[in-house]
């Protein structure tokens, strides 16, 4: 759910700063999904 939210926000954001934050924060749920 959190990952979906982050992905949708990454695709719709129109500010480069928010895009960067969301782009990088997607790694957190991926780490949990893959590594834990």
């Amino acid at each position: 759910m959190g990952m979906e939210l982050l992905l949708v926000l990454t695709f719709i954001t129109l500010d480069l700063f928010y895009f960067f934050v969301l782009f990088e924060s997607l790694l957190i749920p991926m780490f949990i999904l893959i590594g834990v």
Binding site: L14, D15, L16, F17, F19, F23, L26, L33
Partner: protein, 316 residues
Amino acid sequence: MLFGMIYLHTVVGSLNYYVLLVYPLSFCDQILCWCCFFLAFAVKMPLFPVHIWLPEAHVEAPTAGSMLLASLLLKLGGYGLLRFSLTFLAEATVVFTALVSVLALAGVIYGSLSTLRQVDLKRIIAYSSVSHMNLVVLGIIAFNQEGLEGATYLMVAHGLVSSALFFCVGVIYDRAHTRLLRYYGGLVTVMPLFATGLLLFSLANMSFPGTPNFLGELLIFAGVFQRSSVVLFLSTAGIVLSAAFSVFLFNRLTFGTLKTKYAAEFTDTNRREFSILIVIGAPSLLLGVCSNIVLEFTHYALADTALYCDAIALRN
């Protein structure tokens, strides 16, 4: 990317997308920012030679993780290239076209060749993902309507087909608890439903006509041909190889004799697995024959970008 963003904010004073679109960035600023942004997007795509993380991540990840990784995460890089590199950094993108073309071509051929020598099922699909995503980059840097639409369409198609293939690997991993290819064979005798699903997605992965990958790759090749016939010729070599590894994978898994005694005890897909195959397979079949579902949205969304990039490419 962070460095590029800070630099961009220092120069422009804002990071709003619409402000960046109209701000006249100098050529040197564009080059610097393009390098920073491209590195981040190239790793995410993953473009050759920064693709090594992808097979490793797929091998470590559970089935659901691999499906999400292949279907959603990789597309962020392509989206970033389309959204940022082709708009306010377009002039720098045109300058680096030759370099990116060489890297993407190497990725298409290397990715396809690598699949032929892998023994792990997930690695085979991961390297085929590398090959397809590098083809997406080739479509993006064709700078025309066909290339951009093809790249977008192939990203959608790859999201469905690749995740379905990872799911198929998960299905047989649940039964045999190994992903090594040498332990599999003759699965069509014990798992006919699974074999049918695998056949469908293997055909889609090799861009068989009637599948969404075919339409995406056809549009990309139409776009690439307008730029360079040499690049087209070399990239089609990757497609021949992708057909080879798809046939090789399907043939080794489903035909021949059962490799282990306990393989005879395997049960076919249960209701849960079959319903997931249907949920992924139905849109794949639909997009293979009704491309307008996606293209009617992307056509107008990408038209301005294509015209703008095409004009800059012709000027240079």
